[in-house]
């Protein structure tokens, strides 16, 4: 039956091309059988809220990774911003504090980007430096103490819902849509892919590479600022020790989403799914009462599996 065979191979191709989504669906099905508390409204809302900071940061980081770079400073910048927003709320009010916070995050990215683009420092090193600097500054300005947020409007946003969907998750959806628009429809998105695919040829085509590079790090800093603000609204504190090790989760989300750390390959939607996958894994393991130490091991194994699947898929498609 050649017709049937053709159909199943076409189906396989479709599954392969959407492997991140397939992985996500398989995980949801598994979650249904593993825990009867998983699909309760409370838990789903909880997951949606929890996944927001990781989702937002991963999407910003994706742009850096698309150019072949990396940003290790995301967690520290988030912490710095959460402290800044908590400190400035009383004096500057809601709008002022948010603007200043977004500016602080973006500036951190601008500095990383400039070190990479104009001083030729390797992204790993440049953002490693910014990572410790941002963490240090957060500890200095907070004197090492959590800063409690004193603003009811700000606090209520973290727990509010719109049409039954947590407002915070709507922020993530908005960021995703904007980032996808930037990726697909704009000259900037095109150039980011070009730089990551072949930097030399892009430079030889008369494109100013440093501008693109600075822009992606600034974008990453901007999304970290959003995530920092969101953390403050959810927890009610600006914490200098927030999101330690968060860069690893974010990198994992981007990679699970099928992006290549060599640059040039990866999509916004799949990165969002990657972040959701990681959030769901954590949530599921909590529901199943798996101890924290074990959770780390399981998480690592799942990341390896996802990446192996991705490379197997590459081989199949290329053949």
């Amino acid at each position: 039956m050649p017709g049937l065979k053709m159909k199943s191979s076409a189906l396989l191709r479709l599954a392969l091309s959407q492997s991140t989504l397939v992985f996500f669906v398989v995980m949801l099905i598994a979650a249904y059988f593993l825990s009867d508390r998983f699909f309760t409204p409370d838990n789903v809302t909880n997951i949606l809220r929890q996944s927001v900071p990781l989702g937002v940061v991963s999407i910003g980081l994706l742009y850096v990774i698309l150019t072949g770079g990396i940003d290790l400073s995301v967690g520290s910048v988030m912490a710095l911003v959460s402290v800044v927003v908590a400190l400035t709320l009383p004096d500057l009010g809601l709008t002022g504090a948010i603007i200043v916070s977004l500016a602080v995050g973006t500036c951190a990215g601008l500095v990383s980007g400039s070190l990479v683009a104009y001083f030729g420092i390797a992204p790993f090193i440049a953002t490693l430096a910014i990572m410790t600097i941002a963490r240090g500054v957060a500890l200095i300005v907070s004197r090492g103490q959590p800063i409690f947020v004193d603003n009811d409007t700000f606090m209520s946003f973290g727990s509010s819902s719109f049409l039954g969907v947590p407002s915070l998750f709507l922020v993530l959806i908005g960021v995703t849509l904007l980032a996808a628009l930037l990726y697909r429809q704009t000259v900037f998105g095109r150039l980011v892919i070009a730089v990551g695919s072949n930097e030399v040829a892009t430079r030889f085509a008369g494109i100013n590479i440093p501008t693109i590079k600075v822009a992606v790090y600034a974008l990453s800093g901007f999304t970290c600022a959003i995530a920092g603000i969101i953390s403050a609204t959810r927890t009610g504190v600006g914490s200098p020790i927030l999101a330690i090790g968060f860069e690893l989760d974010a990198i994992a989300a981007v990679v699970v989403g099928g992006a290549s750390l060599a640059g040039g390959r990866g999509t916004v939607i799949n990165t969002l799914i990657g972040a959701l996958i990681l959030s769901i894994i954590s949530n599921l393991m909590n529901l199943m009462d798996i101890p924290g130490y074990h959770q780390q091991v399981v998480k690592g194994v799942i990341i390896v599996l996802a990446v192996l699947m991705e490379s197997a898929k590459r081989r199949l498609i290329d053949r």
């Binding site: 095109r190 150039l191 695919s197 030889f204 494109i207």
Partner: protein, 536 residues
């Protein structure tokens, strides 16, 4: 699998005494072998399909031992597919392959290597920062032990190189060798350490300048005389008459005919490759016209030790050639004009205005385009789509407020496709789906979309088949007619002679001569290219 004879442990000696299974031959070397085994490689009715595409159709190829056998054909004619079958990289669908009389079916490259076949690819697999000896023994540096005995390593490598009469010191850093000598290191490794008797060379001369080719040819002939069988793939037809003992022409996945280089002409080969007689390879040179506007003037340009006091002028509608050996400063000059490298002193004027060109983006703004020498690494972005590549230099025209306009983009891409006759499946296919010649057309078209006045073409027809070459030449002549000033850098002298109004020759970073009209000939270019010995 080959018979036991071909798998027996080697004694380290080259070519001799293997492949001749009836050991009745008293004479030594290639002459004796030719009598014992009729063919070193005997391919009969081999076919290979990729999906619906029939890459090889009943191909027959017979290569006599101890000869240099050339394969020619346009890109996609099936030469590389057949060689990959011989090298164990691809499996044949049907037909038979005999190596020195033994029927073989290779499942992986190691099996082919064990049967005595080595393939030397155009991209060399050498570690540039290691020495010659280290590269040769890279798979087994310790020779079974834990520590490296450098002296023994160098001695063995030196013996291997001397055995074939190659004059390379085993302690030389590979990156310091010219490409021709690097090829020789790879050949020696294959012959001695992996004990190969059949050498497949895939377009080795494409990356070499003419004097380096002489080095390679002398060494290949020496190997042949020692009994090594060489299958030689090339797009440069004129060189076949210097080196090949037999020529097989491929076309559309089939072998068309065998030719004897002693009796056939270049036109015969071309006629068989394309299935029709070609007129001249080059279009008539466009009339440079009455205007003598200078579009590009380079004055006393100096950069470190690579460029010294270089001056040249390029007029509107002129095709200017830049000849010289690899490393003579031609590409370096192009890089400086295009703002990739900094200059120490000197000026560059474009349309009569002195400009400081700090980076390619500036060069582009001033109307200069560059088609770089390395198409895959510098010219095109292979994973991106054809239309994305075409519009990369011209994003302003296809976007508004930073948003891409798909309709405008398609219009620009279609225009490029039609004007340069780019053959492609769909504009949204990746650039990597195109043949070399069509990829190059995309890179050229990209610069036409940028609407400049000066176009620099660095080795524009490297690794491109004859048909596409002719088309590219016609395009260049056409662009000159439209008013572009065109600077062509080429290692193929015939290309410069056939295409250019004037030719500058460079040697050791200096311009050593300017030729025009009938003075442009191989002898003069060669004489001016050869470096003079420097006095200390």
């Amino acid at each position: 699998m080959p018979a036991d004879g071909a798998l027996a442990p080697r004694d380290g000696r080259p070519a001799e005494s293997r492949g001749q299974r009836p050991p009745d031959s008293g004479t030594e070397g290639g002459a004796g072998r030719a009598e014992t085994v009729e063919y070193a490689v005997d391919v009969a009715r081999v076919s290979k399909a990729f999906g619906g595409v029939q890459a090889l159709k009943d191909v027959t190829l017979r290569v006599a031992p101890g000869t240099i056998h050339a394969l020619v054909g346009e890109n996609g004619a099936g030469k590389s597919t057949l060689m990959n079958v011989l090298a164990g990289i691809l499996r044949k669908d049907s037909g038979s392959v005999r190596i020195f009389g033994d029927e073989v079916t290779f499942g992986k490259p190691q099996e082919s290597q064990r049967a005595g076949i080595a393939i030397i690819h155009q991209e060399l697999a050498l570690a540039q920062d290691l020495s010659v000896a280290e590269n040769m023994f890279l798979g087994n540096l310790g020779q079974g032990g834990l520590f490296v005995n450098w002296r023994a390593l160098n001695r063995r490598a030196g013996e291997a190189l001397r055995q074939f009469g190659f004059d390379i010191a085993p302690t030389t850093r590979v990156g310091d060798l010219s490409v021709a000598y690097q090829q020789i290191v790879e050949i020696t490794t294959a012959l001695v350490l992996h004990d190969c008797r059949i050498l497949i060379m895939d377009e080795p001369s494409a990356v070499l300048a003419d004097p380096e080719i002489d080095v390679l040819f002398a060494n290949l002939k020496q190997l042949r005389d020692q009994g090594v069988t060489i299958i030689y793939i090339s797009h440069r037809l004129e060189e076949l008459f210097r080196i090949a003992d037999a020529i097989t022409v491929f076309k559309d996945g089939q072998t068309v005919t065998d030719l004897d280089p002693k009796t056939c002409t270049e036109d015969d080969i071309i006629a068989n490759m394309v299935g029709r007689r070609m007129g001249a390879l080059f279009p008539p040179k466009p009339d440079p016209g009455a205007t003598s506007d200078v579009v590009l003037r380079v004055d006393h340009l100096t950069r470190g030790r690579v460029l010294h006091d270089v001056s040249l002028t390029l007029h509107r509608g002129e095709i200017l050639g830049l000849a010289g050996l690899v490393g003579s400063g031609r590409s370096e000059l192009a890089r400086c004009i295009f703002g990739i490298d900094r200059v120490d002193s000197g000026t560059i004027e474009i349309d009569g205005v002195a400009r400081r060109i700090g980076r390619p983006a500036h060069a582009m703004r001033f109307g200069i385009g560059l088609v770089p020498e390395d198409r895959k690494r510098q010219g095109g972005i292979l994973p991106m789509t054809i239309s994305e590549n075409l519009t990369l230099t011209n994003l302003r025209e296809v976007s508004r407020f930073g948003l891409c306009n798909a309709a405008a983009e398609r219009r620009v891409a279609e225009r490029s496709k039609d004007s340069l006759r780019i053959r492609l499946g769909a504009l949204c296919d990746p650039l990597s789906s195109l043949s070399g010649g069509n990829q190059q057309k995309v890179v050229v078209a990209k610069w036409l979309n940028a609407a400049g006045t000066v176009l620099i073409l660095d080795e524009p027809t490297r690794g491109v088949d004859v048909g596409a070459k002719m088309e590219l030449y016609a395009i260049v002549a056409d662009l000159a007619r439209q008013g572009y000033g065109i600077l062509v850098i080429s290692s193929e002298m015939m290309e410069l002679i056939g295409l250019c109004h004037r030719v500058y020759v460079m040697s050791e970073g200096e311009i050593t001569g300017e030729l025009s009209g009938g003075d442009i000939c191989e002898e003069t270019i060669m004489r001016l290219s050869i470096p003079k010995r420097r006095k200390h």
